[in-house]
């Protein structure tokens, strides 16, 4: 009924901002809700092209499941590779082999690409330097694969598997 007022994207932005507000206030009182709705409406009007975590989310069951799996995989990768980097840093000989490799991504949605780049950056040992079309340039502390295919398989495939389901 309100769909003429906002586009779907703006409704998603509005709800996400309201959710953020409620977590921030940590309360569900009436005045909090009223203020949150007013402020979120104002912000949705002023920057309507805003993006949120949920904007390009596909609301299917597989996507939700993949979301949780993605976070599980992400945090386990985070801890594992942090420990590996810590070993590199501590060891006296500093066994590094840095280089910038090129990998390919098939993701097309904005959010999915941002999340992929962020995930690659957050897992230490790899750092996204440039995102250009379908190519990602990744700085890798210990280069193990130089050609595009195997580097893609080694670095991005794990995340991309889930992100393709979530965002496409």
């Amino acid at each position: 009924m309100f769909s003429s007022l906002f586009t779907r994207r703006q409704w998603v932005l509005f709800s996400a901002l309201l959710l953020f507000w409620l977590i921030l206030m940590n309360s569900l009182a009436t005045d909090v809700l009223i203020t949150g709705v007013v402020v979120a409406l104002l912000i949705t009007f002023t920057c309507g092209n805003g993006l949120t975590f949920f904007t390009e989310f596909r609301w299917s069951r597989e996507a939700v499941v993949a979301g949780f799996l993605y976070y599980g995989y992400f945090f386990s990768e985070l801890v594992k590779s942090n420990i590996r980097l810590a070993q590199i840093v501590i060891s006296p000989s500093l066994p590094i082999n840095p280089g910038i490799v090129k990998i390919r991504t098939e993701l097309t949605s904005q959010m999915g690409r941002l999340m992929l780049a962020n995930s690659i950056t957050m897992t230490p040992g790899t750092l996204t330097v440039e995102l250009d079309g379908e190519w990602l340039y990744v700085h890798w502390v210990t280069v193990e694969h130089e050609d595009i295919e195997s580097a893609t398989r080694h670095l991005a495939a794990g995340f991309e598997r889930y992100l393709k389901v979530i965002y496409g």
Binding site: F20, L24, A29, T35, L51, L114
Partner: protein, 241 residues
């Protein structure tokens, strides 16, 4: 060099003075009379949990008005100085060199997407800080600075974007006017200029409480945010002179 020696002498003498101050300083054990008044009476008089906010908005409200005026003047002068026509001067070598500046390097997809993601959140957080000024640390000045930071992020992600300059000046003048009007309303309906008791005090600690403090702070926040944003935009516009 004689100048450096004189400066060193001045700094040394000031250092001696400061060290005297430091040696003679002894921290208070008790709050002094004014602070004691604020500590005990603020909650019942204004209903604000954040005493600093209560002082800024009501007890020392006139100072805040002066401060907002100073800020407004600074923003206006920045705009004026930057937009002044430089007629009469021969074009210097510097401005010629600037004409050959290469175009901006591309912003890149990461920063553009990140901006789209973060700007609404920053604005929302600024609103949170402003609205909760009477309960938690924060208030109009901090929130205004956070709003301006959101604007800064927009500016960084797209240097040539023309963000609603008109809207910003409208918001600025409107909120300044509303701030003064609320002050006069306090003079008419309650005890004095910028008195917050023109609205009911509400229950202590809830969002709608402390009378007019949140309302006044919203206008201060909008005004400060608009002033900083117009400063940033004026500076950013100097590229295509």
């Amino acid at each position: 060099m004689i100048k450096r020696f004189l400066v060193l002498l001045l700094v040394l003498s000031m250092g001696v003075m400061f060290s005297q101050l430091l040696v003679g300083y002894s921290p208070d054990r008790q709050l002094n009379a004014t602070a004691h008044y604020y500590a005990t009476q603020t909650a019942s008089e204004t209903g604000a949990a954040n005493i600093v906010s209560a002082i800024i908005v009501t007890y020392r409200g006139l100072d805040t008005l002066g401060e907002v005026t100073v800020l407004f003047l600074a923003a206006a002068i920045v705009g004026m100085v930057l937009s002044a026509k430089q007629g009469g001067q021969s074009p210097t070598s510097a401005s010629e060199a600037e004409r050959q500046l290469p175009p901006y390097p591309p912003v890149g997809e990461l920063l553009a997407t990140g901006t789209q993601l973060l700007v609404p959140l920053i604005l929302m957080f600024g609103a949170y800080v402003i609205v909760n000024g009477h309960l938690t640390p924060g208030g109009g000045f901090q929130g205004g600075a956070i709003l301006a930071s959101g604007m800064l992020l927009l500016l960084l992600s797209d240097p040539l974007r023309t963000i609603g300059h008109r809207l910003i000046s409208v918001v600025e003048s409107f909120s300044g006017l509303a701030f003064v009007l609320l002050g006069i309303l306090g003079l008419l309906l309650a005890g004095g200029f910028l008195d917050n008791k023109i609205l009911p005090l509400g229950t202590f600690g809830s969002l709608f409480s402390a009378g007019a403090i949140p309302v006044i702070y919203i206008f201060i926040g909008l005004k400060v945010g608009a002033e900083f944003s117009s400063m940033l935009l004026n500076l950013a516009k100097t590229e295509e002179r």
